[in-house]
């Protein structure tokens, strides 16, 4: 392996090769319309960019983001809606990307953690607050926490420590940085 190839690029490339190998030969694009299809065409918007995909019906939004779009900020923790590491915004509402089929995202606007900061790279107030309050340890849950917190504040639920703890309960932190996370969310809410 060459030194210039990162671990993520290497894994991404291997994944793509497997993906190609598994695609049945001669598969054609499914016709649009109301017949049930095992391959589906989906058009949606991810972080402000239009996306068109032709995928197996079983493809989740999470797997598509990570495996096909290289948006690996959205984490796959439990893959059953229990941990919140895969939290994204769908039409502005926070949801678990592991519990959504890409096929269900037709026409939707999706925001991942990669799309939270300003286009010029300046951090979202939640991201800055997480840094200021040391609101992460291992960091694995952080992308989900950040996206969830941005939504929590926009919903108007970041009003007190108790409210933040209740409305951020869908994001688990196994390092248990909850006091810092709660402080960061409240600080970002004050700034918003």
């Amino acid at each position: 392996m060459t030194d210039s190839l990162s671990r993520r690029e290497f894994l991404g490339a291997s994944g793509a090769a497997v993906g190609v190998a598994l695609t049945p030969a001669g598969a054609t694009a499914a016709p649009k319309g109301r017949t049930a299809e095992r391959m589906v065409d989906v058009t949606c918007n991810v972080n402000g960019r239009p996306v068109s995909a032709h995928v197996e019906a079983r493809t989740t939004l999470l797997d598509h983001l990570r495996e096909r779009m290289d948006l690996t900020g959205t984490k796959k923790g439990c893959n059953e809606g229990a941990c919140g590491a895969c939290t994204v915004l769908v039409d502005g509402k926070r949801m678990n990307a592991c519990l959504i089929l890409l096929a269900q995202c037709e026409g939707r606007a999706i925001t991942t953690v990669e799309g939270i900061a300003q286009p010029d790279g300046s951090l979202h107030p939640v991201q800055q607050a997480f840094i200021d309050h040391d609101a992460f340890q291992c960091g694995f849950c952080t992308p989900g926490q950040v996206v969830s917190a941005a939504a929590c504040i926009a919903e108007g639920h970041a009003t007190s420590e108790a409210s933040v703890r209740e409305w951020m309960s869908g994001n688990l932190c196994r390092c248990s940085a909850y006091p810092q996370i709660t402080a960061a969310v409240l600080a970002a809410a004050r700034r918003a």
């Binding site: 049930a36 095992r38 197996e56 769908v90 592991c98 269900q104 037709e106 639920h157 309960s169």
Partner: protein, 344 residues
Amino acid sequence: MQNFSYVSAARPEEAVKALGRGCAFIAGGTELLNWMRLGIATPDTLIDIGGMEGHSRIERTGDHLIIGALATLNEVGEHPLVRAHATVLADACLKAASPQIRNRATLGGNVLQKTRCAYFRSETPLPWGCNKRSPGSGCAARDGLNELHAVLGWADHCVATHPSDPAVALACLDASAEVMGKRRRMLPMTDFHVSQVEAQAMFKAAGTGSLLPAHEAQIETRLARDELILAYHIPIHDGERSAYLKVRERESYEYALVSAAATVALDGGLITRARIALGSVAQKPWRLVETEAALIGRRLVREEISAALRTLFEQARPLAHNEYKVQLAANAALRAVLAAGGVS
């Protein structure tokens, strides 16, 4: 997850018509996708009803609150009409799952979720018996670890509870589900789910002699296979107040050990009407009919309510590890009635 065919339906008629063997409806999908991962369900075709327009509406029509089946748990829980006229349902919705799941999960799908029994919710192939997963294989929970299981209505073939919070509130409020199959009908939410004992009776009445008796473990509701929930109709009684109490091992984002939904109407300090439903004690929301009758004309005080709850202890049939649930349920019911009546 095995692959499947996918099609979306724009209208309920279209969805019901498309439903054939091996098909399943998907709306939020927060349960179904996990069933498919575990092998609990292996549909060949998913019919997406999530995009059907006009079916997430929440409105008041005369003396009824109507909630479209596609309304999400957060939409129901935070809606001013629901908060005003069905507080118990709003609170039950907001105490369910997590904010992310509540943005996705619909009230239609929520009542159709399956038990949290750990023996049931494991990946295929199961190393133990579960009559819901494999009829005739037995019930590992009956004599296994059953601290979270039923204390009412269970049978030897299955001791599972139903985990929905909103279903408990809907049963307490005497709501009805408007369902569509070959025709439209109203299904009272007190009869929507069935206990294992009721399932046995339904099984016998259906005369399906060719199936193993254990198939009755798979009967969980009175919704027919070809029926789709369109909406819930909740009668509004002015002057009545309600409350939902959920007891769990952590304060948020956890299933109930027990829960209690209550409505109370008072006149001059005396109870004129009370309704109580318990959750997570049976495979259905358990209305305390005798207690409700005994409370009429009583004062809204701890002693009187506790006395009326005594029948619960006579009826309960705890398993080896869940006797605590009976006292916990009685305490929860007491507090829910007091809270509904405005006493905290």
